[in-house]
């Protein structure tokens, strides 16, 4: 009996402790996102007490993109009675997490970080608010026309409305080892073998020749010296990630085709798409390191820095600081940038969009306008960020020899935006864009891994598109 009494008392204590732990002292908090990065508390802006600050949160990619933003956010907070919480989320989970919060209308995030292909879906479903009225009312502050026009179009426009501002572009160009292309021995050998001068490739056929030319086994000579490991002509992002699609997009667009036609008809099996995948698998991949099948962009940068590859295919220009680091890590390397093969590449940027569930949309829009504005973008660029604003890209302070290792890509971004001004994929204007984009990576990869032929892979992709869009046409709303 005594034991029973003791047991019951113990259970009562346990229940009390549990109840105390679970009883909320405040209203339940919205779903907590992982890895919240706490902003540093700035001194209160003129007359604004910390307790008066309006709290807003920004879900974004953890890592450099966020780290560089922390000091800029401090500036924003010093000028506005707002407290910003950056919620850093791993890139692979960012879309999932944001969608779940958006569908649940939790209001956990006031500002979303949206990929180009995801914009139309967010807008179509009402997850984000249009910012046209705000931009119109704050034209001087926002300076929307200063954003590279093609970038502004693909990243912010849907159904004639503007859905936020881009703050970080990952538009593609190309990186290559200029020292290899300038070496007299290599130039002579290339001319003998291919009958034309060695130079950074500008066409896909040239790229194939150069990739083949520089692929060598350990012990063979490169720049007159024996190689201590295998060397490859090209680095590719052929792993089971989305980036294989980004890599193929320039090839597809360069053939004048797209994944979706203007009327939404699915075009993934057409000649241009087939050519791109076949060329990628059969003509380029054999000259890439075996690890190409398991890596994405960071893997390619590691290969570059490890003196394993001569060049990239079309590649994210925001990675220039990493590419330039090759000069420190790989003796004799001299890095250079290209505007993309056949002047056609992937265009994209992270869009900052205000959640329709935000409790403070005005402050959230102020924040978006500030982060996408010239002042913040200039500071972002000085920290190595890849800005979206023409005036910042053209700013002389970022085109000096001293800033070369951080911002040499700026001049090339301007050229890329100009080259691409009339080429925009319909994918970015389909509300199914994110799903189609997510479907492409793994399926293209099956062809790269030789599990399927390019024809089979494209048939699979077509079937998947039909399944996602509910028929042979996907909605496209420009």
């Amino acid at each position: 009996m005594r034991r029973k009494m003791l047991s019951i008392i113990a259970m009562l204590i346990l229940f009390s402790v549990l109840a105390a732990c679970t009883t909320p002292t405040q209203a339940p908090a919205p779903t907590q996102a992982p890895a919240a990065v706490q902003p540093t508390q700035p001194p209160a802006a003129g007359g604004c007490k910390d307790s008066d600050r309006v709290p807003i949160s920004w879900s974004t990619i953890a890592g450099f993109y966020t780290d560089a933003m922390t000091s800029i956010i401090k500036d924003f907070e010093s000028k506005n009675c707002v407290k910003v919480t950056i919620v850093g989320i791993d890139n692979a989970q960012l879309y999932d997490k944001q969608i779940i919060e958006a569908v649940g209308k939790t209001g956990a995030y006031d500002v979303y970080n949206i990929e180009t292909a995801e914009k139309a879906g967010f807008a179509e479903n009402g997850y984000i608010l249009p910012m046209d009225d705000y931009i119109k009312a704050n034209a001087d502050k926002v300076q929307y026309d200063d954003i590279a026009p093609i970038l502004a179009d693909v990243t912010t426009k849907y159904k004639g409305k503007t859905w936020g501002l881009p703050y970080y572009t990952y538009t593609q160009g190309q990186f290559y080892r200029a020292d290899l292309f300038e070496d007299a021995t290599e130039m002579a050998a290339f001319k003998t073998k291919f009958g034309y001068d060695l130079k950074p490739p500008t066409t896909w056929d040239q790229m194939k020749d150069v990739a083949q030319f520089f692929t060598r086994k350990k012990g063979e000579m490169l720049k007159g010296k024996p190689l201590d490991k295998d060397f490859y002509g090209i680095g590719l992002m052929a792993g089971r990630f989305q980036e294989i699609q980004d890599e193929l997009s320039g090839m597809i667009l360069s053939k004048g085709t797209d994944w979706l036609k203007d009327d939404g008809t699915i075009a993934v099996k057409d000649d241009g798409n087939l050519w791109a995948l076949k060329f990628y698998v059969e003509k380029l991949l054999p000259y890439a390191p075996p690890a190409a099948l398991t890596v994405t962009y960071d893997g390619v940068m590691n290969q570059m820095q490890d003196c394993q590859i001569a060049m990239t295919a079309n590649f994210f220009l925001d990675q220039w600081p990493n590419a330039a680091n090759t000069e420190k890590k790989c003796p004799g390397a001299k890095m250079a940038i290209g505007v993309g093969i056949e002047k056609t590449t992937y265009i994209g940027a992270f869009l900052m969009g205000v959640s329709s569930s935000s409790k403070h949309p005005k402050e959230a829009m102020d924040f978006v306008a500030y982060m996408g504005g010239k002042e913040a973008q200039t500071k972002f660029a000085s920290l190595g960020g890849s800005t979206t604003r023409i005036s910042v890209l053209k700013d002389p302070q970022f085109n000096t020899p001293e800033s070369r290792t951080k911002t040499a890509q700026f001049a090339f971004l301007l050229q890329v935006f100009d080259n691409m001004k009339t080429k925009k994929s319909n994918l970015f204007y389909s509300p199914y864009g994110a799903k189609l984009y997510n479907a492409m990576g793994p399926i293209y990869h099956t062809a790269a891994a030789k599990e399927k032929t390019p024809e089979q892979a494209l048939q699979t992709l077509y079937d998947e598109f039909v399944k996602i869009c509910g028929g042979p046409k996907c909605a496209v709303n420009k």
Partner: protein, 311 residues
């Protein structure tokens, strides 16, 4: 006296029995509430969703569609491909883990010195999360910087396998990782079983001059069967649910050769947000696992029931 009291419970004893019943209910109630809330509510919710149209990015959870989701899933070739991958993985992983685990358990059981240290070392892989060790192994498998290929080259072997990029090797790379991770679990459970076996039958067999093989065949393994069955079922269920190793090592690649049911389900649910298909697949998968484990555990349960009856 006490026996008589049990045979003829008086009014006081009857009240006490009632009290014991409520006391038992009270004791299990918290656990039952938690189980009901965290297991059954999501289960019934999943059942409900499996009969509805539920695309989170296109209108959310909508109307009743009958068996349409079940038809769609059962006609989905990639679902069946992932089922095939899961079955192949489970078969080879279990065979190797059980074989090696039993072997290692016998080795440790027979060890005369350092048994405690060996046990501690064996348990190390289990001490960390598969997602963490998976990332670690991803680097070990790397063709450029990986230790495995480095050792192969140090040994002078020309073979430099693309562990995670070759469609012929991808699944085996995941199996090797799983064996490294879970073989110690099998070994430890079997070791515990071996150490709990009664000594008398073995002493008698030794006196009778029975060979080692005969002792193994007629005494050790039959007596270990309940433990082996239990560990077999636990490992099988765990292998069928394989997700974290795939997510960290291969993401379902190369190609789609390591895309298991759970990884495919994850992609349907949290990449494409088709909660209807994901729920349907999860339920079909759950029914299959329950049936398989029930079938596998039947002899063990029958034996336990028989023992209970004998008492």
């Amino acid at each position: 006296m006490e026996t008589a009291a049990i045979k003829n419970p008086g009014p006081v004893q009857a009240r006490r029995t009632m009290s014991d019943t409520w006391y038992s209910i009270l004791l299990i109630a918290p656990a039952m509430i938690i189980i009901l809330f965290f297991a059954l509510v999501p289960l019934f919710y999943a059942i409900d969703v499996s009969f509805r149209q539920a695309d989170l990015t296109m209108g959310g959870i909508q109307g009743f569609v009958g068996l349409r989701n079940y038809r769609t899933v059962l006609h989905e070739p990639y679902f069946w491909q992932s089922v095939g991958t899961t079955v192949v993985f489970t078969f080879f992983a279990i065979v190797i883990e059980m074989g090696l685990g039993i072997f290692v358990a016998f080795l440790i059981h027979g060890a005369t010195v350092g048994k405690g240290l060996i046990r501690s070392l064996v348990i190390l892989p289990l001490a960390t999360a598969p997602s963490v060790t998976g990332l670690f192994w991803r680097y070990l498998y790397d063709t450029q910087f990986g230790l495995y290929n480095y050792f192969l080259s140090v040994l002078g072997l020309p073979w430099q396998p693309n562990w995670l990029g070759d469609i012929k090797l991808g699944l085996w790379s995941v199996i090797i990782f799983d064996v490294w991770l879970w073989m110690p679990f099998v070994a430890l459970i079997v070791l515990a079983g071996l150490q709990s076996l009664p000594k008398e039958p073995f002493e008698a067999a030794e006196l009778d001059g029975a060979s080692n093989f005969r002792v193994l065949r007629t005494l050790t393994f039959p007596m270990l069967t309940p433990v082996l069955m239990l560990v077999f079922v636990l490992r099988t269920i765990d292998c069928l649910r394989l997700y974290d190793s795939v997510a960290t090592l291969t993401r379902g690649g190369p190609g789609s050769v390591t895309e298991t049911v759970t990884y495919f389900l994850y992609r349907q649910g949290l990449v494409f947000f088709r909660m209807d298909y994901a729920s349907t697949m999860a339920l079909l998968f759950m029914y299959a696992v329950i049936l398989a484990s029930g079938y596998a555990l039947r002899p063990l349960l029958a034996r336990l029931a028989m023992r209970a009856g004998q008492r």
